[in-house]
C-alpha cells in the first residue's frame, strides 16, 4: 500500500509544471522550459514504472488476482439527490497502471524529441506548458475512480488537444482543424454526458466500482429498472451504454466520427505522436474497457462496439492505401488500429480465457502506443529534413537518414505484424479472440491485417526507396531526436514478449494464453503478401501503381477522397443544421435577445430625454417640487387615517 501515496504526485507535478511554464515560461524560463517539462516527465515516468512494478510483481494479491486500490477518495460535490455525489478519487487497477506506463513513457519520449524538434519556435515555452497540461489531464483520466471525474478530465484532454492542434494558429488550416476536432468531439461528448447521467441516476452512483457492481447484478433494482424501461423498443441500459460509447467513439475517431483525426495532423508532429496516436485517441478504448463488465452484460451495446470497430478498421485501412500525405496515412492507420482494439473488446467474453479479447485489446493498445508514436516521430524527422509532408517529395532517403530508416522499418514491421515484433503478438491475440467470438469480424480483421501491411510498406518504400536520393535540407537530426526513436524501437521490438494475460484480464485473475502456431499462418501469409505487393509496386519508380489505381477506377477515387464523408457532413450541416437550427437560432439571438437588450437601453434613454428637464439646476424649483411632494404625501397619509 505504501507506494499508493506517491500516486497524487503523478497529477500534482504536471499541473505544477503547466502552471509554472504557463506563467513564467515566456519571460524568465524561455530557454529552460523544455528541460523543466522533460525533467518533470522523467520523474513521472520513474514513479509510474515503480508503481507498475510494485503493483504487478511485488504487491500482495487477493485470491491470486490483482487488487483494486484507492490511492485517494474524497467526496467533492454532493448533488443532494439520490445520494449522488462526484468524488475525486484515484483508482489503481491493472488497466490504469498499464496506461500510466504507456502515457508517461510515450510522453517522455515526445518531450525529449520536442527539445530538438521545436527548437527556435516562437512559443517554445507555451508548447511545453500545453504538453504538461495534456499529460496531467490524461493521467487524471486513466486514474479516475468516478465516471464524472473521468468526464472532467475527458474534456480537459479535449482542450489540450485543441490547443496543441491549433499551435500554429497563424495558419488558417491549423485553426480550422483545431475547431473541427473540438466540435466533433464535443458533439460526441454530449452523448457521453447523457449516458453518464442515465447510468448515474439509475444506479444512484457515479463511482465506477459501485456502478459496475449494481449494473451487473441481475437482481439489483438499478439493473431491473434499466432493463424494463425502454425507449423506441431499446432498453434504457442499452441506450445509456450506446451513448457512453458514442463519446468514446468520438474521442477514438471511430467511423463516422473520425473526420477530425486526419485534420488534427496540422499540429506539430510530436503532438500527433503523443495525443493523436498513442494516448488520447485510445481514451475511448479505455472507457469501454473500464465499463467492460456492464458492456458484457448487454449484447446490443457490445455488438455496436464490435461492428463500429471492425468497420472503422477496414474503412480506414482502405483510405490509408491511397493518401499521399505521410501524416494522414499514419492518422488513418491509427484509426484502423483503434478499430482493432474496439472490435477486440466487442467480441470478448468475460472471465478467464473467454476474456481474451479484452486482454488482447489492451495489449494492442500498449504495443500500438509505442510503434505508432515511433512512426510519427520518424515522420517528424523526415518532415524536418525535407520540409514537406507530401510523399511525392520523398524517396531514397535511406542514405541521408540511416537511424530514422532503421527505426521506421522496425515500426513498420511491428505494425504490420511480423514476428517476433510486438505488433505480431497483440494482433494475433485479437484475431484469435475474433475467431472465437465472431467469424465475420474475424474476416474483416484478417483483411485489414493484409491491408495494414500493404499501406505501411507503401509508405516505407515511397519514403526510403523508390528513387535515387532526394536532396535533404538538413542532415540527420540531433541526438535529442534520435534517442527517443531508438528507445521506442527497442520497446517495439520486445514489448510483444510481455505476458499480458498474466497482467491485464477481465476479472483480474491471470490466465495462461495459449499460442497457436497454425492459427497464425493465415494472417502471416496475408501480411507477407501485403509487404511483397507494396515492394513490387513502390520499391522502384514506375507506372505500376498508377495502373493499379486506374484498374480500381471509381473505388480508388472514392478512397482517395476519403469516401466523401467530409462532404456528406458539410452537406448535412450546410443544408439542414445551418438552415433549420442555425439560422433560426441566429435570428432569435439577433432579434429577440439582442433586440430585448437594445430595447431596454433605448427605452431608458428615451424616457431620460423626456424627463431630464426636471433637473434644471434651480434650487428653488427643487424646493417647490419637494414641498409639493410632502403636501401630497401628507394629504394621502392624513386622509388615509381619517378613513
Amino acid at each position: 500500500m505504501n507506494y499508493a501515496q506517491y500516486i497524487p504526485l503523478l497529477l500534482a507535478l504536471p499541473l505544477l509544471s503547466f502552471a509554472i511554464l504557463g506563467i513564467w515560461g515566456r519571460k524568465s524560463l524561455k530557454k529552460s522550459s523544455g528541460i523543466i517539462g522533460t525533467m518533470v516527465l522523467l520523474i513521472l515516468t520513474i514513479i509510474s514504472i515503480a508503481v507498475a512494478t510494485h503493483y504487478f510483481f511485488i504487491g500482495e494479491k487477493l485470491n491470486n488476482g490483482y487488487q483494486t486500490i484507492f490511492a485517494l477518495n474524497i467526496p467533492w460535490l454532493n448533488f443532494g439527490y439520490k445520494n449522488l455525489s462526484i468524488d475525486i478519487g484515484l483508482l489503481l487497477d491493472p488497466i490504469s497502471v498499464m496506461m500510466l506506463v504507456v502515457i508517461t513513457v510515450v510522453s517522455l519520449m515526445v518531450h525529449i524529441f520536442s527539445l530538438g524538434y521545436m527548437k527556435g519556435e516562437e512559443r517554445y515555452p507555451t508548447y511545453f506548458a500545453f504538453l504538461s497540461l495534456f499529460t496531467f489531464s490524461m493521467l487524471g483520466l486513466v486514474l479516475s475512480a468516478n465516471i464524472f471525474q473521468m468526464y472532467i478530465f475527458w474534456e480537459l484532454v479535449g482542450v489540450s488537444s485543441y490547443l496543441l492542434i491549433g499551435f500554429y494558429f497563424t495558419q488558417p488550416k491549423a485553426v480550422a482543424a483545431a475547431k473541427k476536432a473540438f466540435i466533433v468531439t464535443r458533439f460526441a461528448d454530449l452523448g457521453f454526458l447523457i449516458g453518464i447521467l442515465m447510468l448515474g441516476i439509475q444506479a444512484e452512483t457515479f463511482d465506477f466500482l459501485t456502478l459496475i457492481e449494481r449494473l451487473t447484478n441481475a437482481e439489483s433494482t438499478a439493473y431491473i429498472n434499466m432493463h424494463t424501461t425502454s425507449f423506441l423498443g431499446i432498453s434504457a441500459l442499452t441506450w445509456a451504454l450506446s451513448l457512453v460509447f458514442v463519446g468514446g467513439a468520438g474521442k477514438s475517431a471511430m467511423f463516422p466520427l473520425h473526420i477530425w483525426l486526419p485534420d488534427a495532423m496540422e499540429g506539430p508532429t510530436p503532438v500527433s505522436a503523443l495525443i493523436h496516436a498513442a494516448t488520447m485517441v485510445v481514451a475511448g478504448v479505455f472507457l469501454v474497457a473500464r465499463l467492460f463488465p456492464i458492456f458484457h452484460f448487454n449484447h446490443t451495446a457490445l455488438n455496436l462496439v464490435a461492428w463500429t470497430g471492425a468497420l472503422s478498421a477496414l474503412f480506414a485501412a482502405v483510405i490509408a492505401c491511397t493518401q499521399t500525405d505521410i501524416k494522414r496515412v499514419l492518422a488513418y492507420s491509427t484509426m484502423s488500429q483503434i478499430g482493432y482494439m474496439m472490435f477486440a473488446l466487442g467480441v470478448s467474453g468475460y472471465g478467464g480465457e473467454s476474456g481474451l479479447g479484452y486482454t488482447a485489446s489492451l495489449f494492442h493498445l500498449f504495443t500500438h502506443a509505442f510503434f505508432k508514436s515511433l512512426l510519427f516521430l520518424g515522420a517528424g524527422i523526415i518532415i524536418h529534413a525535407i520540409h514537406s509532408n507530401d510523399l511525392k517529395d520523398m524517396g531514397g532517403l535511406r542514405h541521408a537518414l540511416p537511424v530514422t530508416h532503421l527505426t521506421f522499418l522496425i515500426a513498420c514491421l511491428a505494425i504490420a505484424g511480423v514476428p517476433p515484433l510486438s505488433g505480431f503478438f497483440s494482433k494475433e491475440e485479437i484475431l484469435l479472440a475474433a475467431w472465437e467470438g465472431n467469424r465475420m469480424i474475424f474476416t474483416i480483421g484478417l483483411l485489414t491485417a493484409g491491408l495494414t501491411a500493404f499501406y505501411m510498406f507503401r509508405l516505407y518504400f515511397l519514403i526510403f526507396w523508390n528513387r535515387p536520393a532526394t536532396k535533404v535540407i538538413s542532415k540527420e537530426a540531433p541526438a535529442s531526436m534520435k534517442i527517443p526513436l531508438i528507445i521506442l524501437a527497442a520497446i517495439s521490438l520486445v514489448a510483444g514478449f510481455i505476458p499480458f494475460s498474466q497482467l491485464v484480464t477481465t476479472d483480474q485473475q491471470p490466465f495462461k494464453s495459449s499460442f497457436h502456431v497454425l492459427f497464425s499462418i493465415a494472417p502471416l501469409l496475408l501480411v507477407i503478401a501485403g509487404i511483397f505487393t507494396a515492394m513490387r509496386l513502390y520499391k522502384n519508380p514506375g507506372e505500376k501503381a498508377a495502373h493499379l489505381a486506374q484498374w480500381f477506377g471509381k473505388f480508388y477515387q472514392g478512397a482517395l477522397h476519403k469516401f466523401y464523408i467530409d462532404e456528406v457532413y458539410l452537406f448535412i450541416t450546410r443544408n439542414f443544421i445551418y438552415k433549420i437550427i442555425g439560422s433560426p437560432a441566429a435570428r432569435f439571438d439577433k432579434q429577440v435577445v439582442d433586440g430585448g437588450v437594445n430595447g431596454l437601453g433605448n427605452g431608458t434613454r428615451f424616457i431620460a430625454e423626456k424627463i431630464k428637464a426636471l433637473q434644471n439646476g434651480r434650487v428653488q424649483w427643487y424646493l417647490l417640487v419637494f414641498l409639493g411632494g410632502i403636501l401630497i404625501l401628507s394629504f394621502i397619509f392624513i386622509g388615509w387615517n381619517k378613513i
Partner: protein, 102 residues
Amino acid sequence: MNYLQEILVISTALFFIGIYGLLTRRNIIAILMSVELMLNSVNINFVAFNKYLYPNSLDGIFFSIFIITIAAAEVALAIAIVINLYRNHDSVDIDSTTLLKY
C-alpha cells in the same frame, strides 16, 4: 388666559411667510433670512406648547435654545458659502447658480 390658538396661528403664518420667501426671493441673503423665519416659527411652537400643555417641564424651552444655537452655527456656515459664491459669480442672485444640472 390661554393664547395657544393665537400663538399657533402666528407661528403658522410665520412659517408660511418663510416658505414664501424661500421660494420667491432671488437674493441668497434674503433666502437665508426666510430660513431663519421658519426656524423661529418652530421655536415659538415649542415655547407655547411647553407653557400651556406641560407647564411643569422645561423640555420645550431647552429645545428652542438648542435650535437657536444650531441656527447660529448654520448661519455662519451659510454666510461662508454665500461669500464663496459671491467671489465666483460676482453676485448673490440665486439664478446665477444653476450650474449643477443635466
